[in-house]
Amino acid sequence: MTTDAVARARGRVGKPAALLEVRSLSKRFGEVQANWDVDLTVLPGTVHGLIGENGAGKSTLLKMIYGVYTPDEGRMFVDGAPVSPGSPADARALGIGMVFQDLRLVPALTVAENIALALPDGPTLRLARLAARIAEASEAYGLAVDPSAKVRHLSIGERQRAEILKVLMTGARLVILDEPTSVLAPQEVEALFGVVAQLRDQGLGVVLVTHKLGEVRTIADQVTVLRGGQVILNAEDPGNFSDAELVEAMVGRRVPPLAVERVAVPPREQAVLELQGATALGDRGHVALKGVDLEVYPGELVGVAGVAGSGQKELCEVALGLRPVTSGAVRVGESVHGLTGAVAVPEDPVVDSVVPGLTVLEHMVLDGRAVPRRGLGIDWPAVGARTAVLDERVGLHMAPAKRTLSSLSGGNIQRVLLTRELGQDASLVVAAYPSRGLDVANTRRTQELLLEHRARGAGVLMVSEDLDELIAVADRIAVMHDGHLVGVVDTAGADRMSIGRLMLGGVA
């Protein structure tokens, strides 16, 4: 089929039967109205962009469509017939397929075995016959994968193709892609969109959940913006909207752009962080960091780009002395401009720096700084006062001091750690995915905080999977691939595609 078919599908006389029609869906969790009166229509042969901040109700909506949650109110129709999927299996039987952000593949199994898991197909696996079917489907949808490869050995982009193929082979006509591009290099995003376009041309419906507005404009035929559980905007041809308009719909107010004017990077003196041939093992005992040379100088912000799992985590841990190097050297500058020490936000705060049972206030004294004392104990009122001042100055609005961290969402936990770490002076700042889980306004504030550190003369090392974010804030971008540092690019004049080539292991 070609675009003609799409045109026909769209231009059909009268009302075309929607693949999926959601009417007045509402869902409440305790005090939180997660979805309120949500409408969504996906026509065959179209791509529907669904955007909204964290907590806007996107995943609640998807989970109701996919049968994980039951709506409190509202109706759903597939091909015009009323449905109420009670489980993911029900939803799949209706032709609804979901590609989760963290994928649901088993790394130790082959692609074919993973697909077999999804296909109820007799008591034995008959892998040869399955491989032939996979090859056929790969061909039909333009999704190249090797059925006999173990998922563990595939790149993120290949895994995603395998997952999409799995969903299609189970008979999905509506494919929901949950934040599919957040972990991909630009080239892989292009390839994915090629596949999405092909699915659309074959008359399937695609729901693309993303927070990257440019992507919605590029590929989507329709856009729905959720905020606070409600539909704020539903329109055709999102290309007609500007970033500012879509952000305003998402956030509810204008978010001023990041100031472009920066203090110039001071002339290079003593580096605050110097890695020479740093090599280190990962958690599974494999070599995860391979001979990395990198310096971070005072007053500069060095971004680290790379496909997830390319050694970024080990790089940060080596820089902070949390992971020993097996060879090479790590040097940390003693003090610059009167600043000393390092502050850090780890890649996975819940695992690495949160004590779930302690309160926000208690976390504020867990950073090794001097603590106000009263007798032998801690002067909690003084800590409370100090924390209130800190929260005000940092401006990320932490959760109430008495809440335990185990009761907070990922974004709120991130804000507690960011406030504690970025709220104090240091000569070296290491931030891994600092804006993970944050909404647009807090992401912007976090970027400002990192730039403030830079302006005060600290060296900042920042890992992000969002190239646009790195290009917006970093002075230089170090690109990692498979544990190697494959290139350091000056952000001025950097182009996304050449950084993408480096991320994929090629040469710029």
């Binding site: 489980s87 993911p88 299996a89 989760f100 649901r104 593949l105 088993v106 790394p107 130790a108 199994l109 075995e113 993973n114 077999a116 898991l117 999804a118 197909d121 007799g122 008591p123 034995t124 696996l125 892998l127 599974r284 005992g285 695992v351 779930p356």
Partner: protein
């Protein structure tokens, strides 16, 4: 004497193989059962008691399997439903089984039973060397020859096996396709316990032909260690089990041929062998471990 040792290796390794195969299924499904030793003890007593009461060793095998399955069912309730610590539950169940079998086994000590006897395979058992080593044994030895490849096939070539492996690798993937992780883990753990029970029954009604307290003497723990260095592969379990069988039979052959070696030192050989193999392989084998099982080992994670 070499032939005696090798024939003894096959005979003595069989019980370890059954238990190792069972533990492989259980661990592939994400559950470590240190109670394997206990399941073998219960299997040994259950098998012996049923054989003594009915006079039929085949019913004894069934009794042993049920006894082993029962203990593992308790383990499954604790670790799957109640999410208890797998090591604590397994060890406690071992001590429970040790006490229970000592208590209820008293009346069977020195009682005679109609035990399994060697059934030479016509023709094959005549082959010099190979015949006596492989084809002059009790029926459970022959069944074990088939069991290892069959279990390999079930694990790696059938849907049931795929579900078991997924339960041990990534439970989310199982849930998303509408399967119950708990059900799969229950089945894998109980099947593992039944096989350990058969291994125990082999000791009492085919190998020693008697019942005495603590007669498994650590074979269950060896089987658990064997699973790790066989990298969760049934075919390697087979090879490893016979290696330990050889270590066991070396002791008894030397003893019967009158060579003076300290008995306690000989009894320690299989365990020293286990330690040596673990030390040589280090954490390398752990790369083959099911991911969810690794979380049980990894005390830096909370789940």
């Amino acid at each position: 004497m070499i032939i005696d040792i090798l024939a003894g290796a096959v005979r003595g390794g069989t019980s370890i193989m059954y238990a190792g195969l069972g533990e492989t299924i259980s661990e592939r499904g994400g559950v470590i059962n240190l109670g394997t030793e206990g399941a073998m003890l219960l299997g040994a007593l259950g098998g012996y008691a049923v054989t003594a009461e009915t006079g039929n060793p085949w019913l004894g095998v069934l009794g042993g399997a049920l006894a082993g399955a029962l203990l593992s069912l308790v383990h499954a309730v604790l670790v799957v439903s109640r999410r208890a610590n797998q090591f604590a539950s397994g060890l406690t169940l071992y001590f429970l089984a040790l006490g229970v079998t000592a208590l209820f086994g008293v009346s069977y000590v020195s009682q005679q039973i109609n035990a399994f006897t060697p059934v030479p395979v016509p023709g094959l058992s005549e082959i010099p060397g190979i015949g006596p080593i492989l084809f002059d044994h009790d029926p459970l030895v022959y069944i074990a020859y088939v069991a290892a490849p069959v279990i390999w096939w079930v694990l790696f070539r059938t849907r049931v096996g795929l579900l078991v492996r997924t339960a041990g690798e990534r439970t989310e993937a199982l849930e998303v396709h509408g399967y119950s992780v708990q059900a799969v883990r229950y089945c894998a753990t109980v099947a593992g316990g039944a096989l350990a029970g058969i291994g125990g029954a082999h000791i009492s009604i085919a190998y020693a032909n008697s019942w005495f307290e603590n007669m498994i003497a650590g074979r269950g723990f060896i089987a658990v260690a064997l699973v790790i260095f066989a990298m969760w592969n049934p075919i390697r379990i087979m090879a490893g089990a016979y290696l330990f069988g050889a270590a066991l039979s070396l002791a008894s052959v030397l003893q019967t041929s009158g060579i003076a070696v300290n008995q306690f030192a000989l009894n320690a050989v299989p365990f020293v062998l286990t330690l040596v193999v673990l030390a040589v392989l280090g954490r390398r084998t752990m790369l083959a471990a099911p991911d969810e099982l690794l979380k049980v080992f990894d005390n830096s994670r909370t789940t």
